[in-house]
Symmetry: D4
Subunit: 256 residues, 8 copies
Amino acid sequence: MMKEILEKVQQGILSVADAQEQLATYENLGFAKIDYHRKKRQGFSEVVFGEGKTAEQIISIINTLQLKDKAVLVTRISKEKAEQVLGTCPSFIYDETAKILFWKDSNQELRFEGYIAVVCAGTSDLPVAEEAALTAEILGCRVRRIYDVGVAGIHRLLDNIEDIQNATVTIVVAGMEGALPSVVGGLVSHPVFAVPTSIGYGASFNGVSALLTMLNSCSSGISVVNIDNGFGAAYNAALIHRLIQKGAEQNENTLS
Amino acid sequence: MMKEILEKVQQGILSVADAQEQLATYENLGFAKIDYHRKKRQGFSEVVFGEGKTAEQIISIINTLQLKDKAVLVTRISKEKAEQVLGTCPSFIYDETAKILFWKDSNQELRFEGYIAVVCAGTSDLPVAEEAALTAEILGCRVRRIYDVGVAGIHRLLDNIEDIQNATVTIVVAGMEGALPSVVGGLVSHPVFAVPTSIGYGASFNGVSALLTMLNSCSSGISVVNIDNGFGAAYNAALIHRLIQKGAEQNENTLS
Amino acid sequence: MMKEILEKVQQGILSVADAQEQLATYENLGFAKIDYHRKKRQGFSEVVFGEGKTAEQIISIINTLQLKDKAVLVTRISKEKAEQVLGTCPSFIYDETAKILFWKDSNQELRFEGYIAVVCAGTSDLPVAEEAALTAEILGCRVRRIYDVGVAGIHRLLDNIEDIQNATVTIVVAGMEGALPSVVGGLVSHPVFAVPTSIGYGASFNGVSALLTMLNSCSSGISVVNIDNGFGAAYNAALIHRLIQKGAEQNENTLS
Amino acid sequence: MMKEILEKVQQGILSVADAQEQLATYENLGFAKIDYHRKKRQGFSEVVFGEGKTAEQIISIINTLQLKDKAVLVTRISKEKAEQVLGTCPSFIYDETAKILFWKDSNQELRFEGYIAVVCAGTSDLPVAEEAALTAEILGCRVRRIYDVGVAGIHRLLDNIEDIQNATVTIVVAGMEGALPSVVGGLVSHPVFAVPTSIGYGASFNGVSALLTMLNSCSSGISVVNIDNGFGAAYNAALIHRLIQKGAEQNENTLS
Amino acid sequence: MMKEILEKVQQGILSVADAQEQLATYENLGFAKIDYHRKKRQGFSEVVFGEGKTAEQIISIINTLQLKDKAVLVTRISKEKAEQVLGTCPSFIYDETAKILFWKDSNQELRFEGYIAVVCAGTSDLPVAEEAALTAEILGCRVRRIYDVGVAGIHRLLDNIEDIQNATVTIVVAGMEGALPSVVGGLVSHPVFAVPTSIGYGASFNGVSALLTMLNSCSSGISVVNIDNGFGAAYNAALIHRLIQKGAEQNENTLS
Amino acid sequence: MMKEILEKVQQGILSVADAQEQLATYENLGFAKIDYHRKKRQGFSEVVFGEGKTAEQIISIINTLQLKDKAVLVTRISKEKAEQVLGTCPSFIYDETAKILFWKDSNQELRFEGYIAVVCAGTSDLPVAEEAALTAEILGCRVRRIYDVGVAGIHRLLDNIEDIQNATVTIVVAGMEGALPSVVGGLVSHPVFAVPTSIGYGASFNGVSALLTMLNSCSSGISVVNIDNGFGAAYNAALIHRLIQKGAEQNENTLS
Amino acid sequence: MMKEILEKVQQGILSVADAQEQLATYENLGFAKIDYHRKKRQGFSEVVFGEGKTAEQIISIINTLQLKDKAVLVTRISKEKAEQVLGTCPSFIYDETAKILFWKDSNQELRFEGYIAVVCAGTSDLPVAEEAALTAEILGCRVRRIYDVGVAGIHRLLDNIEDIQNATVTIVVAGMEGALPSVVGGLVSHPVFAVPTSIGYGASFNGVSALLTMLNSCSSGISVVNIDNGFGAAYNAALIHRLIQKGAEQNENTLS
Amino acid sequence: MMKEILEKVQQGILSVADAQEQLATYENLGFAKIDYHRKKRQGFSEVVFGEGKTAEQIISIINTLQLKDKAVLVTRISKEKAEQVLGTCPSFIYDETAKILFWKDSNQELRFEGYIAVVCAGTSDLPVAEEAALTAEILGCRVRRIYDVGVAGIHRLLDNIEDIQNATVTIVVAGMEGALPSVVGGLVSHPVFAVPTSIGYGASFNGVSALLTMLNSCSSGISVVNIDNGFGAAYNAALIHRLIQKGAEQNENTLS
């Protein structure tokens, strides 16, 4: 591209001033390329971390983002703030359990058959599990929820193991001792994202106990995100789904 | 008892000096009673914590203890020290894995059919598991060892679950993420003693991760001992075995 | 059992469909067996952890559980929620100190003479001690409460030591420095369950100081549960009581 | 499948004993299925954690594993032990930096064009980075190494950013403040596995500082494994590569 | 000075009592010298830490301080308290974001051309960044604010890098993983003061994660202040500005 | 004093130069006073912390110190270094258990009848207990050693309680759970200095568990020194002894 | 004493029943002796820890205690609760800063001239300092308050150093970095009790930073109590005052 | 510059290929600019962190660096490695206390009169203090060493306070409780860099106690570097010195 600009200058087709401007753009291309990549993943919604922002700030950010893309996802937003935003942005949907506010193209078609399994240990882990599940869905993935299958009653997990084994990626959400990802990790042959939750009391130290358990898992194929970070796990899982789809499409292109 | 002594003094049967001595004993009876209790549990060996003691100190303690009772158990004693002690106390046996040195009446008969299951997660947890298993045996209990059944391959545990379910008490030894006791605790209906081990690396923090996991277990019926404290778990388990036997015997006595 | 089913199929007594159903059950027997075990311990109430559940959720769970068994125990439930539940479930009793809501067969007869000693250090530890004591009673055990016998006035403990020594199991509840279990552990010859409480200030770190003290106890025969987990200690103690009773009964059967 | 067995029994084609055996297998199918999955991923080598095992134990495990599959990978094995093992298993290769001993089919053909980028911050992080890179290669993936591009000289990273952006998955290895994954995560649109290393001094606390940095990353698409766990990151990355390939193949099958 | 006093006494010019008083002052000169230094830096406002003081106490301190110098700076003061103080001290200004209340000579002239760059990672770090920026301004320094340039989008930082490189000192404020100072530190050749903020969740531990990141920075030229201590960083930066100015002035004097 | 100097100057008795010198001294009197105080406590030996100093450095410091006072105490000095020092300073004595090297006036007479009780929990705590006991003796106090009276066998403590109760000050040394000071503190009515030791394993965290126990003691009258700091406790105890003696002497003077 | 009782029984002077009662008393003498000691220190008020007790409970405890002794001290009691108690116990005084409620004999005469210096670093440490100062006064000691002399302005401390040096015991209260006790400890030759306070922010961790500073002090003669435990320091200091007085009195008795 | 290149292309003076190459360089100017800055600070030696590098690696790095600049500084290099390097690089000097190996232009002239005060608390802190002092000297600064002036004897510090007050920047090195920077910070009016050292025992936690003390300092004008990071403090101090010089020079230029 730089060569073409220079040749045009040489040939007198392009003025020095215009070439300068174009090269300035080019000069930033390393980062423009990044944006290009961002563009390419625009099946993915724009994401706003709602915690610590006022409803006004969120509305303003949404308005800016929607100039580029309708799909916007706001995480960790309380019911009160969400209701204020919904007053201004009525096309958005709010999920109270997941504390997620989002706009999603309802006509979006899911071409990829694979699904993400979102597994959680107890009913108290539900908000984090739903943050993960809903995020994955908004990012364009199929999701299968397998809830309340903690290790204290391992048969509940085993009764659902095939659904988990057939997923492409599994997200395991657990608080207290956080042992579930280790057990799941030993039963599947795909990547597992472990999400410790701050559920527990006493020596659970607001999720530190579960976090350490997951980091020290003796099962291979497990990686960990921050405490209560359901969004992070879903984002990772969605990236993998996109890779599989892209791989399949490239293959398709090669064959055709 | 005090009354009888006083009456004998009143009656002139007992001299003041003798009464004084008897009452002095009586006075200490609260604590003598403790020793009496100790006596009654003399099926239990005397226990010496070998770490930080020299071979000479251990030999000297053994000699003192064996005046009262032949059965002596030395825990956490290195091979070198053990060999020195064995030079002087040739009737002792040393187990290198468990790092236990002991004298045990080989004629001791195990009347109680119940057994303690000692379960461990990985081969690296073996020394602690053996400290527990051997201690329990020396304290007069039957033991069944179920090793290398960590949660990363839950089917290995499930293949052995009946043996564990039929035990009276289970000791579960696990390092790294320490998730095994939670799984076992959900599958059995008897007390489980969880022993975290210092096995692991990075964020395992020498057993702290496993310890926290076990304290936060969502399975009921689990209690925890210090990191690597296989002895402690076995001692607890043996106390329960004795209670069951005593219960059975009292019952027997009542019936006969 | 599998053999019999197959033979019936072979003999034409059982249709393939019926055999399939029966074997399906059989197939799950490993876990059905678990439920069978659960059944057998149904002298034990069903337990619901009330914290983080709404009154509505608790009522709904109670209703489901009582289809199987009348005896239900809800722990860590606040006065407000309990009152809401009592509106719908008037046959339940609420204990405000222990924060326990329960239904218990008032005709239940305690055949076993043994009792659990629940010992606590200070009056601030009372809620946790009562959670333990009441849980044990609801699970069908006799309980003797020995409260306010902290180590700062060791004579208070010694004045009550016989009551503690005569128990089958002792639960020791202590906050601040948590030294009481070590002292009790040295005076008794039965298992001691230590419960650290979050009582204290400054460097007590919400129970961590007491927890560490108990894990490091130099007395044998002590195991530890999570901070403030009075329920957990009582559950363990009740499991042991059941073992003793079962031992006695088996013995009885053998003799008769 | 169960139905067919029963029908054969009904029809007298299958004896009760044989049916019993087949059903027993079937009964374990849930877990056999797991093994089946394992089989399917046998492009993946069997993995042995070498730390804390003697050379003899490792040789014995290798011999057992190679009955099933030639490809075996031993991680965290010191030079001394590796040399002992090589004496018995001369077809193995030892990599001293990565501390990995392995057997690999040299004829193995890499059909998938995608590659894993292994990025590290400083030369001290090299052993962990190599553990990751070599593991990924042994598990059948292409790898591109981009080393010594720590954030203190961000231009070194930017000079190599295209190579990283074109990878399918990136593994970022960093000690001290562990900031590199956050920067990389903001520049790529594929999953990033962050590996904290124990490199550093003072308040780095043997990798805890880097671990926390990575868990708290404000870049989406980052997940974390245990301190120094290069193997774990590579295993996760390889699982994703397999998913992409499988996706491509399924697509291929659909089309053909 | 002591000599002169003594000579005056010798000469009878000074009474013993007066000499005694003067020498008492002299005696404390070591510390008076400190005050003299304080005087010399009186371009610097007097500073009051507002947290934990009542509005009344703050008003009283302001009144006392303003006897010596009009310029007073109150940090960490809530809106409510500030409004109460403003009722009594109407010449003060309150900045709600920075939570700073101050009086400043509006005629103060900034002779030094150099400026302090205040850089922050995310919008949530703004209050701490503003505490730093405003403090520096009140202490008489030029400030350039470069906000919302976190490492997750490194191009935002690079777009502003020249402004940062041309500063004399840079203050970098960051929460969560706190990686920004390391990146900035590698791009500039002047001192960087890193301020961790308590922004984050889960394993950010209220700023501990960011603090550790900054202490372990592999970039040279970075030093760290307490979590959320924007004031501290600004105070340090202002001290350096004063040194540069003083250096320039001394030089000026030498030359003229 | 200042007045007198000035008067002498006024009267021409003292030259300005000499007055200047004397006043310079006076000027520093605040700190000279400190030295004067030090002088007054010269019944107390000079103390050198031996750890991290070479034998040569220690010899050199001893030589300097002995110019002022013969009595020198070197703490935390290994046997090897001590032997080197003894080669040059043959009048010193080395105690291997306490790791203390000292010179003491053997003719020193102990006028005060009160004694310090040094109590320790287990034989492993002996080195720290001896550091305390020997330090107190070298600082001129009577000491009564009551060793191996840990809380696991409370009767051992109670058998010795009168000796402890009759002391003026008690030093309690304990590792593992560190419960002993709480029990002792409840039984005496004089100050107790608690010394946690680094003895223990697992969750004892090198003395942190014992330290926390002691800081959180529910007994009044307990204060704590650093882990293994037997010297510190003894120094405090000796200061109190000196106060009592001084009080007694002042009283004596008043009366006579 | 036991001998006399027995002789009286032998001689028929004492009935068995009466002897039994007397011996029972004797038997408990070890602990009765404790109470005797308590009696002797009854110059000391009875102390109630008010935190976590209701106003009703406190009133009830006060009533019980005042049967024995009028002097009662309630620490850590909020204004609200104190006002409730004052309604019932109008002879009590409440100090809002120290959060102490007490009854004190206003006629109590202070015979001992020595005083305790209570030193604090900043105005925020005042509540803890006052808890210490007021406690010491209620326990019958003279107190000199030297407040707001933190190390950031060391001359403020030095201006008051003589008052501190002339005390018998010094209590130093400090939050944030907690450096003050080290400086004071180096300037005095009497025992210093250091009280860390929970004052600070960020990495002060609610007093942990100050606590560690004090435990690691390089000044001899410092011991530490729990965070914010002003009462504990004062109690220790008062014990020492009593020892000095007792020493003086014994001396007096000896001489007369 | 870009404009000129384009004009030359337009004018046919520059071929497209050459222009492309030149613009490619230009394109990287953002980072070249960084190097330019580096160049400008080349009064500063190149720095190599020696820890974890072999002697061979260090020699190789030195050779590469010296192609650009003779002045090279290797920190944290052991005596053994240094001697190996000196064999190949005989013009280097090794300082054993500071563990620094360096080449320095002995003809370098120090134009700036200002000096850095390096203050340390105890003799054990000397290696870190020397790392700071020597680094500052090698980086071209005057240094004044004020050692062994810990807070336990505050008069030692005050005797040297003028030397510290007259410095431009002060580096304070302290272990154990780390209180010295707070005291110094209150006595000077220039920036203080605090360096915690890992010196201490027990609850010093290898420098964490000192680190926390320094972060929480109530003196303004203090910033902190990592534990034992004497180099980091010196580097910061040298950056400030350069700023002052540059300020003076710019001023000079302006005036002339």
